[in-house]
Structures are given as structure tokens and as C-alpha cells.
Symmetry: C2
Subunit: 328 residues, 2 copies
């Protein structure tokens, strides 16, 4: 079965990421979505929550499909058991708790009940496919599809196979999220090796660690550090990646010239990067200070605030795709 064929996706676990993923899949033509979650009020919860995500699928339209409409037309099914949700699936996607034992047990159960050709995707941010598949008989079917929040808006999906995952399974996932060709809002990227945090979170956490250190050392406040990021690196990296930025920064000599010109400062910074921990009791002095300043600066984000941030995120992503019609 090709990724362009109609797909039937079983979603296991309907938290915030699951709900956003449901909206993502439902925004495509030729999909049927089967959902299973252990919460008893799943239907009421879907009716209440999913419309917020579906609305984002049609930025230029007030006509979002309703949950009842999707159910009536057979595009959305709510299931009482895992087996029933997986029975006709071509893709089974899991976004349950980040717990190795849970994931190993779910995949063994899914394997025993799902159609033999179905693709198995886990939305984990931290548990590699090779660990999750320990109790599976066939280890070629499972791979990580790691989304960034919120997945129905954020373009990135990190596709991370285990060493045992079949290449055609990897290609199927990459192709599915690239559809329709040239028009997909999503940008799947295949990661070549399993590594903790994959790539996006490793980059984010590397920057975060230094940010926490700089707040701990009182070089800058939480609020000012965020301003610095929004007023420079954020918009720069929204338009160029880090390597392309420095290729440009080096002028005609490219990144090689940049590394030569800034190498002294860069080595001094690399040699003195902050050494702090998030777990344990040592080198965690930053936590109290960072949490307190972050709470003071932002409090709890309101529903309106989150909505405005999602609208702005969509504007950035639209701006990324804009063409400017040649030189001024």
C-alpha cells in the first residue's frame, strides 16, 4: 500500500498531542481516524476539545467540520477497546504515557491484533523504538514519529527508525507527511541514528542548559533572555537554519571564513559553557531562580494567550513559504 492510498489511522491515547494529531490526520482527504483512550468520558471530551484543533485546519474558512459530523460521515470512530480500534488500521499511532513498560506492553498487544501490514508509529519524545519493541515478534514495523507541539500547526516530524526498522516503513512515513507533494504543511525529517532527545530536543536542550546557567549567574533575567532570543536568534532561525546563517555570515568565504573569524570567541564560549543539572541535588541551584522568574514573568498562560501564540506561529510558517518575486 502506497502512502498516497486512503489510510485508516488508529490513534492510541488522546491527550493534547493525540488530539492535535487527530486534527492533523482528519485535515487530509481519504483518511479515517479510529480513536481509543482509557478515559471513560472520551466522547464528551472529544466533542469539547477537538473543535479547537479542527478550526486550525481551515485558517481561511469558518466552516470546520464538527465532531458529530465527522462521526456521522464515518470519518471518526470512538472505540471502547484497543483491539477494536486497531482492527482495520493501516497505521497505528501511539501517544500514551512516556513509560517504557507501558509502551512495550502496548506494542506487543497491538502486534497480536492489528492487520499484518499496518505501520506502527510512536509519538514518544524520549524512548527509542529499539527499546519499545523488546516484546514484539517482528521488529521491522515500529518507528518513532516525534512531533513538535502543536503538531497540527508545527511543520516538523522527526522520523526515527530503530536499526531493525524496514527502510520501506521509514519511506512510507516520510511520504505520508509530505502529502500532498509540494503542498504539505509538514516537513518530515529522517534521523539516521537513535540518540536521546533525537535532534530537535537535543538542540533545544543545549541552548536551554546555557540559558539556565546565565540566569543562575545573574548575567540576565528570564524575561530579558527570552527577549534576546525573540529579537535575534528566533527570527533568524525561522528563516535560515544555523549552518545556512553562518554560511551567509561568512560572506564569500562561507562558514569556513566565519569559523576562522569568530573561532576565538567561539572556543572561549565552548570552553566555558555552563555545567548544570536538572536531576539530582548537585548543580541544580538554577532551578529555584528560573522557576520563580518564569512564573513572575508569565504566570499561567490564558486560553486567549495560547490562541494568539498559535495564530502568530501560523503567520511565521506562512511567511516561510512566501516568495518575493526576485530582486528589488
Amino acid at each position: 500500500m502506497a502512502a498516497t492510498d486512503p489510510q485508516r489511522i488508529a490513534l492510541i491515547g488522546l491527550g493534547t498531542i493525540g488530539m492535535s494529531m487527530a486534527a492533523l490526520h482528519l485535515s487530509r482527504e481519504n483518511t479515517i481516524v479510529d480513536v481509543f483512550d482509557t478515559r471513560p468520558d472520551i466522547k464528551e471530551y472529544l466533542l469539547q476539545t477537538l473543535p479547537n484543533f479542527l478550526a486550525n485546519n481551515n485558517p481561511n474558512s469558518d466552516q470546520s467540520p464538527t465532531v458529530n459530523g465527522l462521526i456521522a460521515s464515518g470519518r471518526l470512530h470512538i472505540h471502547a477497546t484497543l483491539d477494536s480500534a486497531c482492527a482495520s488500521a493501516t497505521i497505528i499511532q501511539e501517544q500514551g504515557p512516556e513509560n517504557l513498560a507501558f509502551k512495550q506492553s502496548i506494542w506487543a498487544q497491538v502486534e497480536s491484533t492489528a492487520p499484518a501490514t499496518a505501520h506502527f508509529w510512536t509519538s514518544t519524545s524520549g524512548i527509542a523504538a529499539s527499546a519499545q519493541q523488546a516484546d514484539m515478534a517482528d521488529k521491522t514495523r515500529l518507528l518513532v514519529v516525534h512531533p513538535f507541539n502543536p503538531p497540527h500547526i508545527m511543520p516538523l516530524l522527526e522520523i526515527v527508525p530503530s536499526p531493525s526498522t524496514a527502510p520501506e516503513r521509514v519511506e512510507f512515513a516520510r511520504e505520508y507527511f509530505s502529502l500532498p507533494p509540494g503542498e504539505s504543511r509538514h516537513r518530515p525529517v529522517v534521523i539516521r541514528k537513535e540518540i536521546p532527545g533525537f535532534v530537535g530536543n537535543r538542540l533545544a536542550f543545549a541552548l536551554l542548559r546555557e540559558a539556565c546557567y546565565l540566569v543562575q549567574e545573574d548575567v540576565v533575567s528570564v524575561k530579558d533572555l527570552d527577549t534576546i532570543l525573540m529579537a535575534s536568534l528566533g527570527p533568524r532561525w525561522a528563516g535560515n537554519g544555523v549552518f545556512e546563517s553562518y554560511q551567509q555570515g561568512g560572506g564569500e568565504g562561507g562558514i569556513k571564513a566565519f569559523l576562522e573569524k569568530l573561532g576565538g570567541t567561539m572556543q572561549e564560549v565552548w570552553g566555558g559553557l555552563g555545567d548544570v543539572n536538572v536531576l539530582g541535588s548537585e548543580k541544580t541551584e538554577w532551578k529555584r531562580r528560573v522557576i520563580q522568574q518564569t512564573d513572575e514573568a508569565y504566570g499561567t498562560l490564558t486560553k486567549e494567550g495560547v490562541w494568539e501564540k498559535e495564530e502568530r506561529l501560523k503567520d511565521f510558517i506562512r511567511a516561510q513559504e512566501r516568495r518575493y518575486g526576485g530582486e528589488k
Copy 2:
């Protein structure tokens, strides 16, 4: 003299940053700009280059001032000597070579010739004010104003005083770049302590180091890493800083809940971050691979390419300021 008063800015060094800074200052009302550069063809160079930067000052207008017009109206003066450029300045801003001996010598000379009240700003990315002022008699006047490329578009200016810089000098610089109140395109941030790379480049280089390591280990290609950044962290950090993002990511529990939930993965990532160097001969295997892949992916950016990237950058910055009129 208040930052709101008319200012006369002497710019020492007219490379790319200096040219962009000239456009920044000339875009404001009530400024006169005096330039000095050692290149013999400085007038031809200004006539040829400055218009590209001035055009960016008026995104909604085709009517950019011409260089000859600015000279004729007395808003722009080209000087043959440093002393003449500084003679009537209220602000002297230096963007010469990143060389400590050069900067120490320039500031000693400037101090001996400039009006006694003039403010001294250095656009260095790597040499602290406390090091630059070694040969000055009065160490209260100099501070770093570190811009991000290109400064006439990029909002951030890092203001980094030395321990000897007078607080009113710091406040003057902050206020100058905040004008007009509520309308300035720029966002000056005061850094509380001198530290190599200041804040913006420390954060950028922390992320870059991990990026280089991941390319070295063949986890991901240069091009795919850039795609990952543009499809997730770039637009996220253009809309929120890193702390606000994780405050939101933690839901009602804020960043504290986020650190608890993701702490295991985060500590694993922090403990295994790549250890690579840019100088010396050890741990520099990444360089050949990164330079080669970056050259292959991007080549030399064309003039059209740079122009399009600057237009897109302006769109991101405009989108940051947009208001969305409350909840949907």
C-alpha cells in the same frame, strides 16, 4: 543631554555592520552622522553601498533618501581624520577590526579628542569594554552595543557595560535605541555582567556546538538539521522565548511541571552533549564534514538570496508585533 535630544553620531569603521548602523541612525529624526574609515574610496563606497541599507528603512515607501541628498542636507558627513569625525559628536560608535590592541588605541585617541560628554560605544562581538578601556583615563564612558546582523533590521542590541561604566551611560544607550517609545523597531537589552560571547552568541554557540557534533556523528545532515530548526525551534522562539515556551509546555504547572516531566530525557541529553572544539587539533573532525556539507547545500548566497532573506526577516519581525484582537 537626554537620549530624546538631537544626536550627532560619529561612526568609526564602515564595513557591513558600520553601513547598516549608519542606516539605523539615519532612519531616526534629529540625527547627524559623521563617518570615518581608512579606505581611500570611502565616498564612492558609500554612494554604492549605503542605498541598499537605506531602502530597508522605509518598507512602505519607494522614496529612500539618497546619499548625495543626505550629504547636501548636512545629515551625513564624510571625514578624512578620526579627530574631525569626533569633533562635534554626542555619540562615538566604533565597529573596527576585532583586535584588542586596535581598540585600546582607538579609544585612547578618541578620548583625547572627543567632547567631554560624548558617549563611547563599541560594536564588538567578543572584546569586553573593560579590556578595551585599558588606556583610557575615564573608564565610565565606554560600553558595548553588540548588534545582530543586519542591525538596521534585527531588533536586538546587547548593551554590555564594564564594571566601571556609569549607570547613566547604560540608561542613555538603552533609551536611545528604545526611541520613539512604543514604536522603536529595536529591542535593547542590558546584560548585567561581562561574559565571553555575551548572551545571544553564547546561546547560539551552545546550539551550534551540538549541531556540529550531530553532523560529525552522522545523526543528521547539515541540510536536514537546518530544516529541523526552521520547522520547529526557529518559529517557536520567534514567538516565545525558551522559558516562556516551556512555561506553556508544562500546562497549568508551568515550567516546573515541564522540568519534572521531561527531566529524565533532559538530563540524559545534558550528560551526553557533544564535546567538540573549533580551535586546536583535537576534537575538530566535524569541521571538514560541516564545511563540505554546508558548501554543497548552500554554495555562495546570491545577492537576490540575501535580499529575499532580509524581506522574510522583516516579515517575521512585523508578525511579532501583530495583535490578533482577542479570542477566536
